[in-house]
Symmetry: C2
Subunit: 322 residues, 2 copies
């Protein structure tokens, strides 16, 4: 059905969007009442919220409604996984101009619901209102099933630093879009629809992870958060930081198109938004199968690569990747 | 400190805002990690979300930052109370232009934190980003402490209909502001800083309330939601619907200023945003002390006053109050 949000009205729009969301046993009472009821068998609810604003966090011309719905769910689900919890339910608030196309909203709801289903979470409730600026606010909840929450401050000298999931593909994809390029596809796909390794959060907690987070700002910057919160240093092993063929191809494509000359490692170390998980494990812990070792926690402070400091200039450069 | 959000940056702003929030034992792990941990001893988390957009839900010239913070918290806390739950923790996402004044944000955080403290809730986490349109998204969580959740669909013929809290003051206050008037003060105050009777939600649940909601769209419209969901009719007792002196004074002031001629009862029946609680109780239940009887559930459908239908024209008129 073509048309706009205004054609349908608030209640019609809520019914239409809600119909696209997956059923979940985690949601005891879903949309339609003053509030929802979400099962939290553990007695401690893990909860996080994120806001996405058109023109700031995504652009209509680079991402479809489905992409944005997928990403809005994924980035919140990843925050739940990064605590060692299983995502259970999401709440969605959306504000859009009254003349906003229904087709986009349909696609958005589809992408959002689809990624919730991937993670095993339901959509418990939400809110829809009008705004000049398309704005999406998502709250995700999760259950720890008796596990200790894995915070950022538990890394200890001697611990192993490890990651799981993609690193740098999303940032490379964004650079490619900026340069008007459409290959390599893996980078663009990951920028539009990141695939955080949700199940690996609880898996890491089960193996005794001492600190964990999802990589949203870039590996170096996010590991610096763990180092700072834990009062420790992190040194990465250069041999474990091979950017891989997609990031090399992206750097080559950008250079060939007269775009910025990029060392593919800068995507790996500085790129955010893939929502990989990074964690530290006790020295004697066996890593879960899908995790790879990339370094070690040491006494001191800050993050180094092969013992070398990352300069402030390098730092800003990495931040510039976003 | 004068200045703008941009002067402070994201992390500085988060630290500044967080410092104004109350401590709460409900918050096991607060802001600063990937997600928060909120105590849900009941094992069922009550959760709701609402978005407020400048120009749509509030205006800078009519409401201070403190007012908006207070109201953003209050309307979400009221939704939790309306399920029969005790509010435990809120999450706050805020998007504002980079040149937005820090003073307003400080006041907003003060009002938000203050109302959370009034309700006994903590602030567990949040998100801050940039947008052309000031937008606030709040998620509130609550705990049922073993009570059944009071939904909208449990009203049965013979049940008593009752309310607690203010009705119509906020809508009258909005009309007064539109007309450039500043008296009666009680109406303007309630519009800017509503005072939902949070503790009365659990109190009603303890007395066996069969259906409950908070009055956000207007008494008639919200009771129609209960009637519809419950498959029953509601008849209100005209003698129990005295608008009171403030609403009469507001109607008089509007007429004297050449504004719209309003029957003060229209504020009472059609005005939303005071976030009073309306509920139905079994015929033999003793109402909690602060509740007042206003009508009865009957077989049938729809909402009547003294047995008379409310016409569609009247309906739209009431909706026009907002």
């Amino acid at each position: 059905m073509a048309g706009t949000i205004g054609d349908l009205g608030e209640f019609g729009l809520i019914a239409r969007v809600t119909a696209r969301f997956p059923h979940s046993d985690n949601v005891i009472l879903g949309p339609g009442d003053d509030a929802a009821l979400v099962a939290v068998p553990d007695g401690r609810a893990v909860a996080t919220t994120d806001m996405l604003v058109e023109g700031r966090h995504f652009r209509y011309e680079w991402s479809s409604g489905w992409d944005v719905g997928h990403k809005a769910a994924a980035q919140n689900l990843a925050d739940i996984a990064a605590m060692g919890a299983r995502p259970t339910a999401l709440l969605l608030a959306l504000a859009a101009p009254p003349d906003f196309p229904l087709d986009w909203i349909d696609a958005f709801a589809g992408g959002f619901g689809d990624e919730c289903a991937t993670a095993g979470a339901g959509v418990a409730g939400g809110d829809i209102s009008a705004s000049e600026t398309l704005t999406i606010a998502v709250t995700a909840m999760g259950d720890l099933a008796g596990r200790p929450a894995v915070r950022r401050d538990g890394a200890r000298p001697g611990d192993t630093v490890a990651v799981t999931g993609n690193l740098g593909l999303s940032a490379a994809g964004l650079e490619l879009l900026r340069a008007g390029l459409s290959e390599p596809r893996a980078c663009l796909d990951e920028h539009r629809r990141p695939h955080p390794p949700y199940a690996q959060g609880p898996a890491a907690a089960d193996r005794g992870a001492t600190a964990m987070l999802d990589v949203s700002d870039g590996l170096l910057q996010d590991l610096a958060h763990i180092a700072h919160a834990s009062g420790a240093a992190i040194d990465l092993d250069p041999a474990a930081l091979d950017p891989g063929s997609d990031l090399r191809a992206a750097a080559d494509a950008l250079a060939a198109a007269g775009g910025p000359v990029r060392d593919p490692a800068t995507f790996l170390l500085g790129g955010g938004e893939d929502h990989a998980l990074a964690a530290t494990f006790p020295p004697d812990a066996a890593l879960p199968e899908q995790w790879r070792r990339i370094g070690r926690v040491a006494a001191g402070s800050g993050v180094t690569v092969g013992g070398s400091s990352v300069s402030a200039a390098g730092w800003d450069h990495f931040r510039g990747v976003r």
